[in-house]
């Protein structure tokens, strides 16, 4: 589904991604872990098409299309979804209004008929149950004055509505208490199928107790320095990141 080949990106003069390689197939869940500042959010943003980052090398193939060639909205319409680490406040636009616009823009891109108010009502009702979200929250200006937990839950609600092929969850667990975490994880699990894939970005293994990954990758200094199965996450939980940092740094020094 997604093939990332030697992806490099910088912001301003600062190189952040220094050659990422990753292959994701339909039905898989990949976890990307790593210490703060290692480039996880950057990778997620570059995949979603944020223009502040300049891609300086490499390629990304998504279902046979050159992803880097597409505008952010086209990527969304192709089936990419990014759950933001820091969801943005949109004053004056309710979640429902926002999603109606998004859904119909995507349908337009795909050459489908727009949905009407009645269809939306029915669909929203059904999707609200996934993450146990309240109608009153959806009527409010998007993310404005939402608690951390409400924002994250709202992100997953949007994911449920948009039914992406590839969902990228950036630190969706941060700021959640254990009950909220469980609700969010259950929502994600319900949306999982053999047709779609998920990238879970986190630096704690806690979330991975609920969303069990097929593969775990460790990102450090803009590269994937270690890959493994869910046992790797448990090892990181136990030993922290220092031993990996030491390994990588030692290797860098021996090269230099």
């Amino acid at each position: 589904m997604l093939t990332i080949n030697n992806l490099q990106a910088k912001i301003g003069e600062k190189e952040i991604l220094k050659g990422i390689n990753l292959e994701i197939k339909a039905g898989e869940v990949h976890a990307i872990m790593g210490p703060n500042g290692s480039g996880k959010s950057t990778l997620a943003s570059v995949l979603a098409g944020r223009e502040d980052y300049e891609v300086t090398g490499g390629s990304v193939d998504f279902e046979g299309k050159d992803l880097l060639d597409l505008a952010p909205e086209e990527r969304a319409a192709e089936g990419i979804f990014l759950a933001f680490q820091y969801p943005v406040e949109i004053p004056g636009v309710s979640t429902t209004n926002f999603l109606k616009t998004a859904v119909n823009e995507i349908r337009k891109y795909r050459g489908e008929e727009p949905m009407d108010a009645v269809q939306f009502l029915k669909m929203f009702k059904q999707k609200m149950a996934y993450v146990n979200i309240d109608q009153s929250l959806l009527n409010r200006a998007l993310n404005e004055g939402f608690s951390g937990g409400e924002k994250k839950r709202n992100e997953i609600f949007q994911m449920a509505v948009l039914e992406p092929k590839l969902a990228i969850l950036d630190e969706t667990d941060s700021g959640l208490d254990i009950d909220a975490l469980r609700i969010v994880a259950e929502g994600v699990n319900k949306l999982k199928s053999s047709e779609n894939a998920t990238i879970v970005v986190t630096h704690y293994q806690r979330l991975l107790d609920y969303i069990v990954p097929d593969y775990v990758h460790v990102l450090y200094k803009g590269r994937i320095v270690k890959s493994g199965t869910k046992e790797l996450a448990l090892e990181l939980e136990e030993r922290g990141y220092d031993w990996i940092k030491a390994e990588v740094d030692a290797q860098e020094n021996s090269i230099a």
Partner: protein, 439 residues
């Protein structure tokens, strides 16, 4: 340049003498003496230049370098009118074509016991005492050449009188249409609105121009709001890129009265709105809301002034602007709190979004506070659409243009939501959506 400028001025002075000649006996009336004095004031002041502090960012050169036909004939067909119609409009609807009241097109539905609606010229005859008491009492005619000019030519416009305790159920919609399909035309409506004790009324002035030639509208409205009266006032502007519009609304409020102004400029080449409110009674409330969305090379200038002369009154002001293309905007908001006006609450906010790198906005709050126990706050912001918000929306499949439009509409909505005449609100919402989505 200066000779051209003299031309319009000279034309106006000649026109005045011509009009005076037709008045016969009425030329000696009190109101006409006022007009003569106003013409002298206009003659002395002349049209302002950008050297004038109040006109620093609004250059009227383009306006005065042309001549116009005043009270020009217009042959609006039924077809034209259909195109100009505002859907679902309900209430007392008065038409003024090129500044002249058109009775045939107008319809008055409120009972006479509730509401007096007359052309100003008629009111001078039928309600001389009321007119004399209030006419030309509240304007800034000694400083403003345009107001003086309007006063000199105060032959047509509307007189609205709401007797004490009457709650006028149906709104009053004044439609000012300038027809510049044949030549440059000018109109100088002069309106007097007197709302007596505990009365309530909703009034909208809606301006529209048609045709490719220039139009010059120089409108003045005076509003007297008696004790405990409530006036909901709208100024709606949708004129062409060749339109010059200078409009002044002067308001005088007595104690415990409520006055709300909603000034919405959807279109107009060069627009200057003056809104002046004097609060001369305790526990009164003045609200000033505004929205302007210039595009192309349109220029929209809002000057507001609220004068707190008595204690315990509130004023609340919110103006919002969305500036596209090479458009320019001006906001100047004055708040005076006199020494007597203790416990005044005055709030002012002006927020602007520049959608293009070539658009610009000048904002200037001016506060003069002589009382010590007051709450005053003011703030102006001018910025761009939020970059992170745009990306967030794009990441959900919304194109950049649609995302921008959605943010602009949400920004404007706060002011649209203040409107309380449903048909006017609907009409404006439509104009604003059209303007926002316009490439």
């Amino acid at each position: 340049m200066t000779t051209d400028k003299q031309d319009l001025k000279a034309q106006l002075i000649a026109d005045f003498q011509l009009a005076e000649g037709k008045l016969n006996g009425a030329a000696k009336s009190a109101i006409h003496v006022t007009r003569q004095k106003a013409l002298q004031t206009f003659n002395q002041l002349g049209f302002p230049t950008t050297k004038h502090e109040e006109w620093k960012y609004s250059n009227v050169r383009g306006l005065v370098n042309q001549t116009y036909e005043f009270q020009a004939d217009s042959s609006l067909t039924a077809e034209d009118l259909a195109q100009l119609s505002i859907p679902n409009l309900e209430g007392n609807i008065l038409y003024f074509i090129n500044g002249v009241y058109n009775e045939a097109l107008s319809s008055i539905v409120s009972p006479a016991s509730e509401l007096v609606l007359l052309p100003l010229a008629e009111a001078i005859k039928q309600y001389p005492a009321v007119v004399e008491k209030h006419f030309n009492q509240y304007t800034d005619q000694h400083e403003n050449a345009f107001t003086a000019l309007n006063t000199a030519f105060s032959f047509d416009g509307v007189f609205i009188y709401v007797p004490a305790k009457k709650v006028v159920e149906k709104p009053i919609i004044l439609r000012f249409i300038t027809d510049a399909r044949q030549a440059n035309v000018a109109a100088q409506p002069r309106n007097l609105i007197v709302v007596e004790k505990r009365a309530e009324v909703q009034i909208a002035e809606a301006y529209r121009s048609i045709g490719e030639h220039s139009t010059f509208t120089n409108a003045v409205t005076e509003i007297y709001v008696a004790e405990e009266a409530n006036v909901d006032y709208y100024k709606v502007q949708n004129e062409s890129d060749q339109a010059y519009h200078i409009g002044s609304t002067a308001v005088y409020q007595e104690g415990r009265s409520v006055f709300t102004a909603n000034t919405v400029t959807a279109n107009g080449g060069f627009v200057r709105n003056n809104l002046q409110i004097k609060i001369d009674g305790e526990f009164a409330e003045a609200n000033m809301f505004g929205l302007y969305i210039p595009n192309a090379k349109q220029h929209i200038d809002n000057h507001t002034a609220v004068d707190h002369a008595k204690p315990n009154a509130n004023s609340n002001e919110l103006y919002k602007g969305i500036l596209k293309d090479k458009s320019t905007g001006v906001f100047n908001g004055k708040i005076f709190v006199r020494q007597d006006a203790q416990k005044t609450n005055a709030f002012q906010s002006c927020k602007n979004v520049l959608v293009s790198d070539e658009a610009s906005m000048n904002t200037k709050p001016q506060l003069e506070i002589w009382a010590d126990d007051v709450k005053c706050s003011h703030g102006t912001t001018t910025g761009q659409l939020n970059h992170d918000a745009l990306f967030y929306m794009q990441a959900r499949g919304i194109s950049k243009d649609a995302a921008k439009a959605l943010l602009m509409l949400a920004f404007a909505q706060e002011v649209i939501d203040k409107m309380r005449i449903p048909s006017i609100k609907e009409y404006l919402e439509g104009l604003i959506i059209e303007k926002i989505y316009q490439a």
